[in-house]
């Protein structure tokens, strides 16, 4: 039976990926050679919020508190232990806020924004791409291809800037910044949800419009290839209905690589659309990551990257487990 051995292999692979990535995640920020606590202190002195005297002592105390004074290998082991318990520690920049708190707030925004846009653009883009390649599709639909393909060539942050300029600045239809109005306290009410939706529309649109074309282009290419396959000819010679030919024979075969891409794209949902979030000041993971890199906030960077790694590895695992169901040929190689 293929299932048991295959399953074990995939799960072992999952842990290997996570461990490797977590290790890189630990060492990479430390290679920058920056001293986050000293820099933060110096900044505070410069802005006048701390005295110059006793700085060295304070740096030492904080370094001890964050465990930054110990040898690197000890820090690494502690880090691995913490990670295994999902204990991400405290933010340096927003001490005493824990990384977990920061992530939880930001993740909700990002997941909301990106799950919706990723799924929507996958569904519409894939379907559209398939129809564009389908010689039996109506002409008006197929003539929509060039504009959507063009849209895919525009980087989404640039598209975001254009949308921002047109709809927020000139027309003033939508708010141009943040996830909710200044002064609103986030809570679970219809009013707040509507407000959040209103703020998410432009960033969502910029991601949707640009990624739609990406899905469509990939799907169109696959569909064209599939349409040239012998089984399509034979299926047509079997007098099969056009709809069955499209779904059962065409789409069903052409979509396989798309599923792989979707799983990978879903993994990136947690990393946020960094540039779009920064452009729109959207309070998601992208903005947090951007700020914590600027502030050399190791724990937060590590926390975010670890989240990304975990989700990517998980989606890959899910993909590995579901693809054999969609494509019987994979089962054999397992």
């Amino acid at each position: 039976m293929w299932a048991a051995g295959y399953l074990l292999k995939r799960i072992a692979f999952f842990f290997l990926i996570v461990l490797t990535a977590a290790t890189v995640n630990f060492f990479l920020p430390r290679l920058s050679g920056q001293d986050p606590i000293r820099e933060r202190m110096i900044k505070q002195v410069q802005s006048g919020s701390a005295w110059g005297k006793g700085i060295e002592e304070m740096v030492e105390v904080y370094n001890a508190k964050f465990g930054l004074d110990r040898p690197l290998w000890q820090q690494y082991l502690t880090y691995l232990g913490d990670m295994a318990r999902f204990d991400l520690g405290h933010s340096i920049a927003f001490y005493p806020k824990t990384v977990e708190e920061i992530l939880r707030e930001a993740l909700l925004w990002t997941i909301g924004l990106l799950t919706m846009t990723t799924l929507l653009s996958f569904v519409f883009g894939t379907f559209f791409g398939a129809l564009v390649a389908w010689t039996r599709a109506p002409l008006w639909l197929r003539s929509l291809a060039p504009p959507i393909m063009t849209m895919a060539a525009i980087p989404y942050y640039l598209l975001g800037l254009i949308l921002l300029f047109v709809f927020a600045f000139e027309l003033r239809w939508f708010p141009g910044h943040g996830g909710y109005r200044i002064g609103t306290i986030p809570n679970l009410s219809w009013r707040f949800l509507l407000e959040a939706l209103e703020h998410s529309l432009l960033p969502a649109l910029s991601i949707l419009l640009s990624s739609l074309g990406f899905w469509a282009i990939a799907m169109r290419g696959m569909m064209v290839t599939v349409e040239g396959e012998d089984y399509m000819t034979l299926a047509e010679a079997k007098g099969i209905k056009s709809s069955r030919l499209f779904f059962d024979y065409g789409l069903r075969n052409a979509i396989l690589p798309q599923i792989t891409s979707l799983a990978l794209a879903m993994g990136y949902v947690f990393s946020g659309a960094l540039l779009v979030e920064v452009v729109f000041g959207f309070p998601g993971i992208g903005t947090v990551l951007f700020n914590s890199i600027k502030g050399v906030d190791y724990p937060v960077i590590q926390g975010i990257v670890l989240t990304i790694i975990l989700t990517l590895a998980t989606t890959t695992l899910i993909l590995d487990l579901t693809l054999p169901m969609l494509d019987p040929r994979i089962r054999r190689q397992a």
């Binding site: 299926a235 047509e236 079997k238 007098g239």
Partner: protein, 356 residues
Amino acid sequence: MTPRPRSNGEAHAQSAALQVRNLRVHYDTPSGVVQAVDSVSFSLEAGERFGLVGESGSGKTTLAMALLRMIKPPGQIESGQVWLDGQDVLALSGDEMRKLRLAGIALVAQGSMNSLNPVTRIRRQLLDGMKDHAAAGSNGTDNGTNAAKLSRREQEAFVHDLLARVGLEPQVADMYPHELSGGMKQRVCIAMAISMRPKVIIADEPTSALDVVVQMQIMETLRRVQEEVGAAVLLVGHDMGIMAQFVDRVGVMYAGKLVEVSPVRDIFSRPLHPYARLLIECLPSLEVKDTLEGIPGLPPSLIERPTGCLFHPRCPHAATECETQEQILDEAQPDRWVACHRLDLIHDLQPETGVS
């Protein structure tokens, strides 16, 4: 058993399973119009096995696809008539044509290795064509099984029966194409082709990807099921050996035209058209040891075609009239149709005393 064909079919429109008259197909390419099929006429009696031979690019496959009305742009059926069991195929609407496929005229395709949908089970692929013919009946599907109305158990029995007819185990129904050998895949394709008991099966080089042993098995299977369901077979290919063993009559195509249509025995023992003769002479012989020779020259470009008889640049008997005048298929002897100006001179046909 199969009725001996008596003519090229002009007078047999009623009894013929398939009747093709002056069919022309061309491809509109940027470099010019390619006349892939040029005024082809022939007919198949019910249950007859007819072979269509010719070099690559002679228009065999285009002709086969045209009969199914599956010529894709830039290709186009220009003119002509195709009658299937008394039905004017070229006059049918798109949906009527779709329903005629499989039910009236079925295909066993060339690339047997990739002819099956890789992601669905054989059972589903054996049944889905029929399911889409559910409301048929008006166009020659009275004897076709209507899978949509079958119960699950009946469907299962039906699939097993189909598989058994082509010599496959019932378990094959649960398999995917990649789990089958090339020969098994082609058997599945044959099972599909007979599933609605069509009047005509087009077999387009059905054994091209298989080794000789499997080739023979497949041809035997095809012959058996064809006789069982009483379908006529149009076998397209260039393997003269397979033709000799399988078909009743052979049509030789050259540059989109039929140059000779003759009973298979006659064409092997005494090919009449110079091209057919050269083609037969190309076959290696077991008795005579000799260097293998081809036909000198190349097939003509179908865009800039020679004038007159298309074969005249390569023909050893060509005369001036061959360069200027086209020749149509003519009954040179009983049952033997040849398009050649110089036939009498080449063969001295008049005192013919029966061809063995």
